[in-house]
């Protein structure tokens, strides 16, 4: 039967408001959009207030008085929204950028670069192992990865000379490797958006109207 829960009714109306966009821009959709903006900002502020209470608890209790420095820096970081006074937030922003850069350099090198290069090298040794499908798979991985890398790092590809034509073929294989990647990724990604539409429509049909 149709739900009597006011929250279910509210969520149903909001869902219908969003789907009304299929009929064109309208005030119903604008209302839903404003509600979305308000709840996002409201939740961020509520989370922020509670997080500040937790983060600076050692400062309030006197356990860690040095936290007064990040408290001051945090307040100065808010000045970034005013163009005229954005310079006040320089040190706070610089600290966050520095910490983020430090950890990014280390992890990107170790995981993204070295980890994947190691994987390619180890797969080279496995090309002659396993079933034909597995061997073909390893072979494709090595060839496609190297060709796609060469396509990306285009500055290394000589355009003229005896090697130019060869490198152009390699780059073309790399281009098609990336097209293959995108095609399969797009096909796989469809299920994500089908799922979210299913949840939204199911909320209307089952939870609100009780038809299922």
């Amino acid at each position: 039967m149709i739900s009597t829960d006011p929250w279910v009714w509210l969520s149903a109306l909001l869902t219908l408001a969003i789907f009304s966009m299929l009929l064109g821009d309208n005030k119903f959709f604008r209302w839903a959009e404003a509600t979305y903006t308000a709840t996002v900002i409201g939740h961020s502020v509520v989370t922020g207030l509670l997080t500040l209470k937790d983060r600076f608890y050692p400062l309030y209790t006197g356990q860690k008085p040095i936290l007064i420095i990040p408290l001051i820096l945090g307040i100065t970081s808010l000045f970034v929204v005013w163009r005229r006074y954005a310079w006040v937030s320089t040190v706070a922003m610089a600290l966050m950028i520095g910490v983020g850069t430090g950890i990014s350099i280390r992890t990107l090198m170790a995981t993204d670069v070295v980890g994947n290069v190691r994987a390619v090298i180890s797969e080279t040794a496995k090309v002659l192992e396993g079933s034909p499908a597995t061997r073909l798979g390893y072979f494709i991985r090595i060839v496609f990865t190297i060709c796609a890398l060469l396509y990306f790092l285009f500055i290394l590809v000589p355009k003229e000379g005896p090697g130019g034509k060869f490198f152009n073929y390699i780059a073309t294989i790399g281009k098609y490797a990336l097209i293959v990647y995108m095609g399969i990724a797009i096909g796989n990604t469809i299920q994500q958006f089908v799922g979210t539409a299913t949840v939204a429509i199911d909320r209307l049909i089952s939870t609100w109207l009780g038809l299922s």
Binding site: T35, S44, V46, L78, I97, G98, D112, I186, A200
Partner: protein, 215 residues
């Protein structure tokens, strides 16, 4: 005098970036407890300062929507409604706390429902976009279209239940040719990220500090 101040400001920003970055790296590569302590303190300070970034959206929305309401711009009633709802939401959330069932229900029924509906709407736009753009005019579009269609079919339960090999083929495609392209993107992204980090350390990258006038 102002030129000198700008000069000092720029270099303070760069020095802080370099010191913090090296502090984090040193904390990982050296086993000294002192260096580890500095790195841990930097983490704590970073987390404390980051808590304030959650209020930037509030300031921005109030300044923009406030101006729009005062000037009676298009959609100003919706902007007013938005600001009023924010003012109601904040004490409601702070009073009950985000752990409370009531807050969770309110949040799921509004923001999450809206976000799911917005994302769910995309499948409709994607389908009409796929109808118009996935047209086989060349070898490239043929490869793209064919593989996308094959992958959509291979994930379907009706195919998998009658032809169990479909699942194996789907995983083979995902873990071999698709993964290779993703790996190339990850490698290049990683190299780009490292270069960006080095440029930031050397002061060549303006980035966020340009807004502050720190670089």
């Amino acid at each position: 005098m102002s030129t000198t101040l700008a000069y000092i400001r720029a270099y303070i920003g760069r020095i802080v970036v370099v010191v913090c970055c090296l502090g984090i790296l040193a904390g990982y590569y050296f086993t000294s407890p002192t260096v580890g302590g500095v790195s841990d303190e930097l983490y704590t300070w970073n987390m404390c300062i980051s808590s304030f970034t959650l209020f930037v959206g509030l300031i921005t929305i109030f300044s923009r929507y406030g101006r729009s309401i005062i000037n009676r711009d298009t959609n100003w009633p919706f902007h007013l409604y938005c600001l009023v709802l924010i003012i109601i939401w904040i004490p409601f959330g702070f009073h009950y706390g985000i752990y409370a069932d009531l807050y969770q229900t309110a949040y799921l029924s509004t923001k999450i429902t809206l976000h799911i509906a917005i994302l769910g709407l995309l499948i409709f736009f994607m389908t009409s976009a796929l109808y118009r753009t996935f047209r086989i005019r060349s070898l490239r579009t043929a490869v793209l279209t064919f593989l996308a269609v094959v992958m959509i079919f291979l994930n379907a339960p009706y195919l998998r239940s009658y032809f169990p090999t479909a699942g194996d083929i789907a995983y083979w495609l995902l873990n071999n040719p698709q993964m290779s392209g993703a790996r190339a993107m990850v490698l290049c992204g990683g190299i780009g990220g490292i270069i960006l980090g080095i440029r930031i350390l050397l002061g060549h990258e303006k980035g966020a500090l340009r807004v502050t006038g720190g670089m």
